[in-house]
């Protein structure tokens, strides 16, 4: 096998590895700018957390009592959501105490 042929095969192998790496996302991740990585992380931020619900009863418990308890737990969270909303509004309308100097 000539030296030229070896070079051609070598280049083809390296290119093929590059395509595989790029398609698997490994190369793409490395080349992403920081801002995009941050956005990607944020975008997946609620997906990477456990997707299990925090209901107070077992997942397979479909009894009336269990569903009533689940609904009550949801209501507590809904009230907390209203509090979160109120605190968010406060933070957006915050005014600093004017300083003397």
């Amino acid at each position: 096998m000539s030296i030229g042929m070896k070079w051609v095969i070598g280049i083809v192998v390296v290119a093929a590895l590059g395509v595989v790496a790029w398609q698997s996302g490994w190369l793409g991740n490395l080349s992403q700018p920081n801002a995009q990585q941050q956005t990607s992380t944020v975008a997946n931020s609620t997906q990477t957390a456990s997707a299990t619900s925090s209901l107070p009863t077992a997942q397979n418990d479909t009894s009336n009592t269990a569903m009533a308890q689940d609904a009550a737990a949801i209501d507590v969270q809904m009230q907390n959501l209203a509090t979160d909303s109120s605190l968010l509004n406060q933070s957006l309308s915050d005014k600093p105490l004017q300083q003397s100097y």
């Binding site: 990477t48 619900s53 077992a58 009336n64 949801i74 907390n80 959501l81 957006l92 100097y101």
Partner: protein, 272 residues
């Protein structure tokens, strides 16, 4: 003294008095002037000291207010359950950094004895407000988005149970057509709430302090307001979803079908 000398004295004395009076007046003015000058100088230093004390008190009040708000936010961040740990860690670090900076500034201002230094330090309170006004809403938006995600998962869990009961009821001969429509609406509302929550995090995650840049400040403000709006939509979605759940629960309870027996709970209620 003969009469002639007496007359000369009487004539000369008034003139002498006239000549001497300005000297006395000048002397008196000079004395008063000194007194006034000394009083003014004392007043200026006294009023400067009073102003410095008042300025320190105002600075202290503002810094304490900000630290309290950031501590509250940090507590809320620690209770977040649905965002990734790295996202949560970033938020917490930003908040803690701000608390540390403000605490150090408060200590420095309290110890400031030089008026110029005090002025510079107090001015930095105003400058650092630009960071505070970004970090605080950023954290609050994240916390609310986390809550939306949590409620969405809970409602999805209950929705699955309701669906199972409806299917069992339908199999037992009950009509569940209308309830299926409600179930579909429940799913749509939960999907939208989740989408809105995700959108807010994408929007506010990369925001950085404007450092006095007006364009950056306007962009940050716009992003925060958009995120607020998105979360408002998500909240309304969940309110409607909760109404759907109430309707479905009522329907399920009214259907004639043998109800499953309760099984032991495997999880505990979320209380954060």
């Amino acid at each position: 003294m003969n009469f002639q000398n007496f007359v000369r004295l009487c004539v000369t004395l008034p003139f002498l008095a006239i000549l001497i009076t300005p000297v006395f007046v000048f002397a008196q003015t000079a004395t008063v002037g000194l007194q006034v000058s000394a009083t003014a100088s004392t007043s200026v230093s006294w009023s400067a000291a009073v102003a410095a004390v008042a300025a320190k008190a105002r600075a202290d009040k503002e810094i304490t207010r900000r630290i309290a708000a950031l501590n509250d936010l940090n507590t809320r961040i620690q209770a977040m359950t649905r965002v990734s740990s790295s996202f949560k860690q970033t938020l917490a670090s930003n908040v803690k950094n701000q608390i540390q900076l403000l605490t150090a500034l408060q200590v420095k201002i309290d110890a400031d004895s030089n008026l110029a230094t005090l002025k510079t330090d107090i001015q930095s309170i105003t400058q650092s407000y630009r960071i505070f006004i970004l970090v605080l809403p950023q954290g609050r938006i994240s916390a609310m988005a986390d809550r939306v995600a949590n409620i969405t998962f809970m409602m999805q869990g209950l929705g699955v149970k309701l669906q199972a009961r409806l299917q069992a009821a339908a199999a037992a001969g009950n009509s569940a057509t209308a309830d299926s429509a409600i179930l579909t609406d429940l799913g749509a509302k939960l999907t939208d709430a989740q989408t809105q929550a995700q959108a807010t995090l994408i929007l506010i995650g990369p925001l950085t302090p404007d450092n006095g840049n007006q364009t950056a400040m306007a962009a940050n403000t716009k992003a925060l307001q958009q995120a607020r709006s998105d979360l408002g939509v998500a909240q309304q979605d969940l309110v409607q979803a909760r109404k759907d759940i109430a309707l479905l629960l009522k329907a399920v309870l009214s259907m004639k079908v043998s109800t499953p027996t309760s099984v032991s709970a495997s999880t505990t209620p979320a209380t954060h």
